[in-house]
Amino acid sequence: MDVVLSAASKTLTREQPLALPSFAEAVEANKAMVFSIAWHFIRDRAAAEELAQDVFLELHRHWNTLKSAEHLVFWLRKVASNRCIDAVRRGKLHRVISLEESAEPTALERVQDPLLSAYLERMVASLPEKQRILVVLRYQEGMQPEEIAKVLKMNVSTVKTQISRALDLLRTKTAQRLRQQKEADTR
């Protein structure tokens, strides 16, 4: 009986939406997510921080419309993604930042191959806007295509196709790069 009750309460807890934290807690808990979406999209630390700040100010204005912690994360991902695309489309972020020029933010986890990782980051930033945001949401946030489709209001099949195309492009470019590097090393 206890086992049944415990299982039921677990199911209930899982299905119940998590309570909304305070605004300050929400900023603290989600700052890395929002900033990283912007950073991987535009690769300009100052612009990414400004964009992330704008997203949180927008959140502050819409605070009363949010229903749960899940809704909060969904809302932040949606607004951050749309703002990144809008900023690039409006030509607000026309300045191209080279990797050497921009200060590298502290990584939360240690990367295994720093050179390849840095190269991949640059490659992601050079993808077309839609493919870029899809790759960021898929591999930074670990979101499933269905979730991404909801956030960006796209077809699931389009999301899958675009991610697959982006991966092909990244794979080809990375292979080329590694080949060039190997040739240079042998010389």
Binding site: A24, V27, K31, H60, R61, P105, A107, L120, L167, L170
Partner: protein, 121 residues
Amino acid sequence: MNDFEKQLERALARREPSSDFVLRVMRAAAAEQQSNRGRNSLLERAGAKWFRDRWEAALRFAPVFAALVLAAGGAFYQHHEHLMQGEVAKHQLLVAMRIAGEKLHSAQQQVVSIGAEQAIN
């Protein structure tokens, strides 16, 4: 997920913004809230002033407005009275014409009956 995707996942690991990021956001949010409050109270004050000005203007023009309403009402009443008098006169004329017609008809019948008697005699 294959090796390339895992590598991509590692490359796109989350980064931390500046250490003062939260503080800056909270300050900006507080400043925005403050300016909104100021703007709202300014709007309220502006709105109240607008209504007060209109109300005072309305009070100033109230006697003129009342006089205009009375004059218009009087003119309408006079016009209505005039129409009613015309209707009564028309009705009286019709009644008089009907009576005159009836009298003429009976006189004509009498003349016809006298003529017939004389012809028999």
